[in-house]
């Protein structure tokens, strides 16, 4: 398959490979996909004062999946959480010029972003709940969706 230069660059020199402490209340973790489907993406964001100051990923998947997650982490850094939510798979697919059969790899990246944000928000609201109603059982922090 012929891949774009940008895709190959992200694949060969992926940005932001690694892990953030998933217990950190400022870190949101998204783990999406399944080994049996051939793709698993873990994407993490660290949010300070509403701004994503760091993003990391690890991906088991094809070259397009690795490049999509690398690009996603690049885009996430410096954005507010609300801005991050507007990243769409089609933007990733367009930027990397993904062939049609590889579109789902960018969908996975979008899912990973959404899931990391949801994790971060649920941690935040769990903290707020705990702070305002110390008695409440409250929401248990959810892991990845």
């Amino acid at each position: 398959m012929a891949y774009s230069e940008k895709l190959i660059e992200h694949y060969e020199n992926p940005k932001n490979v690694g892990a953030l402490d998933k217990e950190d209340p400022e870190v949101g973790t998204g783990l999406v996909g399944a080994p049996a489907c051939g793709d698993v993406m873990r994407l993490q964001i660290k949010v300070k004062d509403g701004i994503i100051e760091d993003a990391k990923f690890k991906t088991f998947g094809c070259g397009s999946a690795i490049a999509s997650s690398s690009l996603a982490t690049e885009w996430l850094k410096g954005k507010t959480v609300d801005e991050a939510e507007t990243i769409k798979n089609s933007m990733i697919a367009e930027e990397l010029n993904l062939p049609p059969v590889k579109i789902h790899c960018s969908v996975l990246a979008e899912d990973a972003i959404k899931s990391a944000i949801a994790d971060f928000r649920s941690k935040q609201s769990a903290r707020r709940t705990l702070a305002s109603e110390p008695e409440a059982q409250g929401a248990t922090p959810r892991a990845a969706e």
């Binding site: 694949y11 399944a34 049996a36 991906t59 088991f60 094809c62 690795i66």
Partner: protein
Amino acid sequence: MAIQFPIYMDNHATTPVDPRVLEAMLPYFTGKFGNAASRSHAYGWTAEEAVSKARETIAKLIGASNPKEIVFTSGATESDNLALKGVAEFYKEKGNHIITTVVEHKAILDTCKRLEKQGYEVTYLNVDKEGLVDPDDVRKAITDRTLLVSVMLANNEVGSVQPIGEIGKITREKGVLLHSDAVQGIGKVPFDVEKMNVDLASVTAHKMYGPKGVGCLYVRRSKPRVRLTAQMDGGGHEFGMRSGTLNVPGIVGFAKAAEIMLQESEAESKKLFALRERLRTRLMKELDEVKVNGSMDNRLPGNLNVSFSFVEGEALMMAIKDVAVSSGSACTSASLEPSYVLHAMGVGDDLAHSSIRFGIGRFNTEEEIDYVADLVIGKVKKLRDMSPLYEMFKEGIDLNSVQWAAH
């Protein structure tokens, strides 16, 4: 000799034409271009003579006693179609049942599906975890409506070599025909239609250093005489079984490839085995969690199908683009389905996604093997550093216990 890139290690897909084969073919494109069916002049006679000689050589390679048992075709896909459809149609008054295996090439499986649509019944035998068919399962599946059993000699993905000799004893005893798609095994493992009681066999030249677009179907002429209905109507070439002007240069090349196999296959198989083991031992020594798919005892000497756990096959192939190999991963296929052969062997989808097939051939060298081993080891490590699954595995998390969000 300097290594030429990309290194070709996909010899199950096709093989390069041996220079000796090409040399033998060339005169048949120009000076000796005659139609083998022309009876009225020297051009035709020269072509016909070359074709007859080719029949003899190819018959010898597969142990056929009569050169007229070789029916030239355009390749193994056609041979497989002709064998199954031809027999099914000819003997339709006698029965309607065919037995095959789940790990056959699509040329067999899709032909069987079509026959099913036409009202035939097909039994698809399962294989064990090494990809092997149990001859006893063949015996149990045979009914009084069974016409034909079709089992491949060696599998194109995992290289498992099927017990054709044992199956042949059963089919002969039961009086049903045995077809074998022998494409991958010819010249690599023993194959003899007489000793193994094979009644029909498909062969293709381009997997044995001959040209593409030519092959043959072996059709037994005595004890028993196999009949089949031609699937191509026309001038009645090839004893009425396959019409169409013969591809004389291709047939000459096919025969030259067979002649080389007759002389060299024993030494070549030893060489392929040594190269394969050199690659396998290095990969398994220097990487953890590497699993060989298929049988170690009954395997093509040049085949190495391995799963590098926690690394996806297409990503790995992209990382080793200096090497031409293939993968059972869904990500490489248009259908996005992982290999049905690995699936049938009980290899989990996760490991199927991580599989790479190395097909070592005549022209590979030790130097190339060492280069490939170094490259693969380095890239697997790099991709594992990027793999969330490898990290979880190292932390002792049982990946099967994780609730994955399937999508």
